[in-house]
């Protein structure tokens, strides 16, 4: 039963009633299929309950019924805006479980792919955020640069969305001819393009008023709520897995971890913008330092032979067939591996019972965990601010609902 209460100015004639408003599940600004049950008093939010599960595909159940390598393409479909990092988290977890290390060049190639993925994910996050708040031009600009990254990924693995590039023990193929040059061209051009976005938004009065002081979360609360990635760093917590638990070759690059001060939507925006610049710097350094050598580990027991070998060598073809058809048996044990994905910490827990299928795979999806902060961040704000709060968390529902 709705409660009738007097409004704040004490005017007893004018009464406002608490109403429940269903936002979504297909509302464009909920970034996917989220049903948000908003309890409102007038335009003010009393409570915001996220209702999810419309997309639930049972990824973890599927994983238990597939061979280890067969689950890699499924991880693409989690955060479909950053498939490379989803792949990476999973293959690194399996590599940890079986205890193999990949060659140097493979690590650099993985870094390049992951950082380009971070840029493309942040471009869409910031672009869609602008779109949600009425700055339509920005999304067009963001897609222009995103297309350049799509072209690079198409060169790498032939796909423009579900890039199945990482594989257990390395990557599916070395950098193709011409990739380095085009990638360099992109990272040279990109900082100027980021300046353009900032010219449109960062000093824009409407943008500032819609984001500054909105959805504030303190550092302590952000940690308590489990926020990760730019959503956490916006609150001033300098925690980035690339720096704090370096994986691949991240410890060899010079880059900054941008943090905010106030923990509001604007700080989360600025973190993403600065992260894009830093990611471009990392790609540039990785291209400079890229060593020669193989990209895949030479461990025939776990790693399939290269495509070239399969077409020229009968033994390699048989070996490939055996691995694809029967998989491999890792030791009994359990591991948890997490990496810094664009949305935050993506972690894979794998429990192995010694058979060729994982006993349990649990995906710690950053969008899912970040989403529970919609309620505390929105309380006391106006209805229109909820849109900014959702955009600032950058949820992707493939990952939330997994």
């Amino acid at each position: 039963m709705a409660e009738i209460i007097p409004i704040e100015n004490g005017d007893t004639d004018l009464m406002t009633r608490e109403v429940t408003l269903n936002m979504g599940p297909q509302h464009p600004s909920t970034h996917g299929v989220m049903h948000l049950i908003l309890h409102l008093q007038g335009e003010k939010v009393v409570k915001a309950e996220p209702d999810i599960g419309f997309l639930h595909r049972g990824m973890e159940k599927i994983a238990e019924n597939l061979l280890y390598p067969q689950f890699v393409p499924y991880t693409d479909r989690l955060d479909y805006l950053s498939s490379m990092t989803n792949n990476l988290g999973y293959v690194m977890a399996v590599e940890k479980l079986i205890g193999i290390e990949i060659p140097e060049r493979g690590k650099y190639v993985r870094v390049i792919a992951s950082e380009l993925s971070r840029i493309s994910s942040h471009l869409l996050a910031v672009g869609a955020w602008g779109l949600d708040l009425g700055a339509i031009t920005l999304v067009l600009y963001a897609f222009r640069e995103r297309e350049m990254i799509m072209d690079l990924f198409e060169m790498l693995c032939g796909a423009r969305l579900t890039y199945n590039y990482m594989k257990i023990g390395g990557v599916r193929g070395d950098l193709p001819p011409g990739f380095k040059e085009r990638c360099r061209e992109f990272v040279r051009l990109f900082p100027k393009r980021v300046d353009e976005y900032e010219g449109l938004l960062t000093g824009n009065r409407i943008w500032l008023q819609r984001n500054k002081g909105i959805g504030i979360v303190s550092a302590e609360d952000a940690i308590n709520l489990g926020l990760t990635g730019p959503s956490l760093r916006g609150s001033g917590v300098s925690w980035d897995i690339r720096k704090d638990e370096p994986y691949l070759v991240y410890d060899r690059f010079d880059f900054k971890v941008p943090v905010g001060e106030n923990g509001d939507c604007f700080d989360r925006y600025m973190c993403r913008v600065e992260e894009m610049r830093q990611a471009a710097r990392i790609v540039e350094q990785a291209l400079d330092q890229l060593p020669e050598g193989p990209v895949n580990a030479d461990v025939p027991e776990f790693v399939a032979p290269s495509r070239k070998d399969i077409t020229t060598n009968m033994e390699a073809l048989i070996h490939h067939f055996k691995l694809i058809a029967h998989g491999f048996k890792p030791p009994v044990g359990e591991v948890y591996t997490s990496i810094e994905a664009p949305k935050g910490e993506i972690g894979y827990y794998i429990k192995s019972d010694g058979t060729e299928k994982p006993f349990r795979v649990k995906i710690r999806a950053p969008s899912f965990v970040n989403l529970q902060s919609v309620d505390p961040l929105s309380r006391g704000l106006y209805f229109a601010d909820v849109v900014a709060v959702i955009s600032s968390l950058d949820p992707v529902f493939g990952e939330v609902d997994k």
Binding site: D244, Y336, G347, Y349, R364, Q372
Partner: protein, 175 residues
């Protein structure tokens, strides 16, 4: 890893805090400890899980202030129980630890939402997928599936294709 290797690992500086201190404080409530691929796992009695979590969060030389995840594992075939696994991270000390509790069917586990608010969604997901109820959770209801859904899909005896009903003609017949 055999006992000798485990002792060697535990005696190293990295693990002394994670293992010795916790065992010293909770004694017999720590049922098992193992190290695999550099990851420390403690199996603790379910009644003390919230206390253990509070302890490792507040202790000065641990400060596990971040709860990465809570998840369930259906180990009924091997251990005759479910496992609830907690992944914790210490932002100040850059360490990770894994805690586990074992729970029989129809038993409940104390919630850790009072220690970390982020346990809210994760515990709801564990309940939704395994049917493990967390005592004291502020909103213990399904998170992915409809509220009237029958069964818990990530249990090993739940069929991959689901049970047959009016929406799922290719499912498995319920016994």
């Amino acid at each position: 890893m055999d006992e000798k290797d485990l002792e060697k690992e535990i005696s190293s500086q990295k693990y002394s805090t994670l293992v010795t201190k916790l065992k010293g404080r909770f004694g017999r409530s720590i049922l098992e400890t193992s190290v695999f691929r550099g990851e420390v796992t403690h199996v603790v009695e379910k009644d003390v899980i919230a206390d253990v979590c509070s302890f490792v969060k507040r202790e000065n030389d641990m400060q596990f202030n971040f709860l990465s995840d809570v998840l369930g594992v259906d180990s009924r075939a091997t251990l005759s129980c479910f496992e609830v696994v907690y992944h914790l991270y210490s932002i100040p000390f850059k360490m990770r630890i894994r805690l586990k509790v074992r729970v029989k069917e129809n038993e409940t586990v104390p919630t850790v939402t009072s220690v970390w608010r982020s346990a809210d969604f994760a515990e709801r997901e564990t309940f939704d997928m395994f049917g493990i109820v967390f005592d004291g959770h502020p909103n213990m209801k399904r998170i992915y599936l409809p509220q009237d859904w029958e069964g818990y899909p990530l249990r090993k005896d739940y069929p991959l294709v689901g049970y047959k009903d009016e929406y799922n003609p290719f499912g498995v017949e319920k016994k």
